[in-house]
């Protein structure tokens, strides 16, 4: 547990450093805002239409797939560490889990959830 203290200190220092770097540009740079400068940048033109647009469902799909396979990895970590102790039985138990997940993945693949065309 003690080794996390160093990480905490590292975290605080990193935050402070980032704050300092961000703050310095405010201190030293000249700031003259005018409407042209603070308007939205769209390749030099004025904005054409409403900024709202339909959101692509693909982003959700990828996010959900990430969550599922992230969880899979979370289950794989302890399995990988204890593989020498749990023997063939443990190995095949995890294989069954992986097979079920793979079937789910095959479903997604064939369904076209991974196509971005």
């Amino acid at each position: 547990m003690v080794e996390f203290v160093a990480i905490l200190i590292y975290f605080v220092i990193a935050l402070a450093l980032a704050g300092i770097i961000l703050g310095l540009s405010f201190v030293f740079a000249k700031q003259k805002a005018d409407p042209e400068k603070i308007s939205a940048y769209e390749c030099g033109f004025d904005p054409f239409d409403d900024a709202r647009s339909r959101f692509d469902i693909q982003f959700y799909l990828v996010a959900i797939l990430f969550i599922i396979f992230d969880l899979e990895v979370a289950f794989l970590f302890p399995w990988a560490l204890t593989l020498s102790k749990i023997g063939l039985f443990g190995f095949w138990s995890m294989m069954i889990f992986l097979i079920i997940l793979t079937i789910g993945f095959v479903y997604e693949w064939k369904k076209g959830a991974l196509d971005w065309s």
């Binding site: 749990i86 095959v106 369904k111 076209g112």
Partner: protein, 530 residues
């Protein structure tokens, strides 16, 4: 005497490489879950089959709803056969996580039959409605697997996981019709309230685990009988256990749509596609009640006074509200939702008895309620689309759905056979003597009276008199009312008519030979007690 299972086959061993565990695992444990494994593998195969075939360009992207339905029906049927022929009838398996006994067998078969019938009778509906997703049948299979595990759960963790798998499938099923606002709303509502109730349930389980240090039903009950030192002398930890138990019961009452926690049920029932509503109304009650029964009679039997009070209160409220609120409903599905809330009230009477007769009454009631609900939903499902006669001249038929109670009007003229079926089913649900529904209610009252629950019995009889009004009102609409627009039925599919015939025969002729059901339930209830 509290209900503990003595014939533990597998003693939990700390050594995973223990030779004994291996032999027992492959000789008993895996054999004992062959039906569940079969159903799981079958559903995975349906998944692969469906996704490969429905996305194949060579086959011109076929719609696989009918195929998936038939495969699902077959796999449910084979699972029933496997369950029936399972040589291991009583055991605790997988490190005491699962439990196999007569009650589990009985209820598992009931669940599978419910799933089977609900797929069969919704075949025509999903084709007409254009619910062209084979995933719907797949989800029914997967939720059936989870319900099989739920029924035989003997551990809080197994129980919670099974409930979650079941609920997760249900949330998707409720919102499966994506182009309908009602369906998506139902899915969202069901998801939010279901997740909330699961959270409450999980908090209760955590409290109980925190105060007892075990997650196993019968170990919890052992602690409650003899009392560990901290429980016997520590007043606060006993209170903590009671608090956890209250949370768990609230979670279960949410899942059962019992009254203070029923608010989602009418909206979900109405919004979800009718085939899904039928499945919701028929099957999950069995599994949730089964595990509640196990929990109350096996885990918390020594805490009977507090949980009995809660269940009695909820039961009275469900019966009263279920019968009163259904009076003012004009839509069929909403009416059925409120009626099912009332029936949950009756079922809770049986649980709160705490006697063997109570268990038997709940089993009889479940079987008969299942059959009647199947019959009702088969009617609501199959003629769901009716062509307006007035628009026959135009080349495009105007189709309206069976939605309001008044749509039944003149059914006695247009389709006398269905009219008689509905009439008999309605009389049966209302509890008119020679029909099956009467026997279930009567036995329930006997059980309640013999357990000295006089208040419950009186309220049940009074509310069932009130609920007679709206059941028989449907019969009146069918036979004596004139419709505003003339509607005719589309022909009923073969599967639905078969389902209707089977259930109708059961309801009508149950009185001739009620002994087998009574004997089977008695045997099951007795086996639960030792």
């Amino acid at each position: 005497m509290p209900l503990i299972f003595h014939d533990v086959i597998v003693q939990p061993s700390t050594n995973y490489l223990d030779y004994n565990y291996y032999t027992s695992l492959f000789e008993n444990d895996l054999k004992a879950v062959i039906p569940e494994s079969f159903l799981l593998i079958a559903s995975l195969i349906v998944l692969l089959y469906g996704v490969f075939l429905s996305n194949s360009k060579d086959k011109n992207y076929p719609i696989l709803v009918v195929n998936a339905s038939i495969i699902s029906i077959l796999s449910l049927l084979f699972t029933i056969i496997l369950l029936w022929n399972n040589p291991i009838s009583r055991a605790t398996i997988f490190y005491n996580n699962l439990l196999i006994d007569d009650l589990a067998l009985f209820l598992k078969i009931l669940i599978l039959l419910g799933g089977l019938f609900s797929i069969a009778m919704s075949l025509q509906y999903i084709q007409n409605e254009g619910l062209n997703q084979f995933e719907l049948q797949l989800l029914i299979l997967l939720s059936s697997v989870s319900m099989l595990f739920l029924v035989s759960a003997a551990d809080f963790i197994t129980m919670y996981l099974a409930i979650e798998l079941q609920s997760l499938a249900f949330y998707v099923m409720a919102g499966v019709k994506r182009d309908s606002e009602f369906s998506t709303e139902a899915g969202l509502k069901y998801f939010l309230l279901g997740a909330f109730s699961s959270g409450i349930l999980l908090f209760g389980l955590a409290l109980l685990y925190g105060f007892t240090g075990t997650t196993h039903f019968s170990e919890v009950s052992k602690i409650f009988i003899c009392g560990s030192d901290s429980l016997r002398f520590g007043f606060s930890s006993l209170r903590g256990c009671e608090l956890g138990m209250v949370f768990i019961l609230v979670g279960f009452l949410f899942k059962l749509t019992a009254v203070p926690f029923h608010m989602w049920a009418p909206d979900v029932y109405e919004g979800a596609p009718t085939s899904v509503t039928a499945f919701f109304a028929i099957v999950p009650k069995v599994s949730v009640l089964a595990v509640l029964l196990r929990l109350c009679y096996q885990g918390f039997y020594d805490f009977m006074v507090p949980w009995q009070k809660m269940l009695i209160l909820s039961s009275i409220a469900s019966m009263v509200l279920g019968s009163l609120a259904a009076l003012s409903q004009n839509k069929i599905k909403r009416l059925l939702a409120w009626s099912s809330i009332g029936h949950v009230g009756y079922l809770l009477i049986a649980i709160s008895c705490g006697t063997v007769e109570g268990i038997q009454a709940i089993l009889i009631y479940l079987v008969i309620y299942l059959v009647m609900t199947i019959a009702l939903f088969a009617v609501v499902l199959c003629p769901l689309r009716r062509e307006k006669i007035s628009s026959l001249n135009s080349d495009k038929l105007e189709i309206s759905r069976l939605k309001y109670l008044t749509d039944f009007a003149l059914l006695s003229k247009t389709n006398p056979v269905i009219a008689i079926t509905i009439m008999i089913t309605m009389f049966s649900i209302a509890g008119i003597p020679p029909l099956a529904g009467f026997y279930s209610k009567a036995y329930l009252m006997f059980a309640a009276m013999s357990a000295s629950q006089y208040l419950l019995a009186v309220v049940a009889i009074l509310t069932s008199v009130i609920s007679c009004f709206y059941y028989i009102r449907i019969v009146k609409i069918i036979y004596f009312e004139k419709p505003t627009t003339l509607l005719t039925f589309i022909q009923i599919s073969k599967e639905s008519s078969l389902v209707l015939a089977v259930t109708f025969t059961f309801i009508l002729f149950f009185c001739l030979n009620p002994a087998p059901l009574f004997l089977a339930t008695h045997k099951t209830a007795l086996a639960f007690c030792f």
